[in-house]
Symmetry: C2
Amino acid sequence: MKVRVFVYLKKGVLDPQGKAVEHALHSLGFNNASDVRISRVVDLHIKTTEAEEAKKQGEKMARALLANEVIEDFYVEVSA
Amino acid sequence: MKVRVFVYLKKGVLDPQGKAVEHALHSLGFNNASDVRISRVVDLHIKTTEAEEAKKQGEKMARALLANEVIEDFYVEVSA
């Protein structure tokens, strides 16, 4: 199964990378851009035919490695 | 409008970060994980009420700064 883990900063956590991108966008003339936040997506294959199992595994991986739960939240999507 | 720019490596381009994560997952016992690819998502607000205009602006930003089109592709989603 294809699994997508979407990892994003919790609301209220500062995003310095987003801020840097926002400044760069303004420098380039995109003055109407604001609230830039950067997240990451981890796509992977998990060798199983059960969507429920794949989702559980994806969540385990997120907790163990992919997300830093102190400052980040995540959700997992599964497709065939 | 809320704009989401999804930036991902072109098919065939090596993803060393993804490989590193894959190895780490295997080390942690997730041996059924493979084909790990890491992408990034840039969420931002664009001050306009027209979705078409917001999408165009998002694409311009992606081409100018957010994506490296030599090795990356992107797509832009707009929501209210």
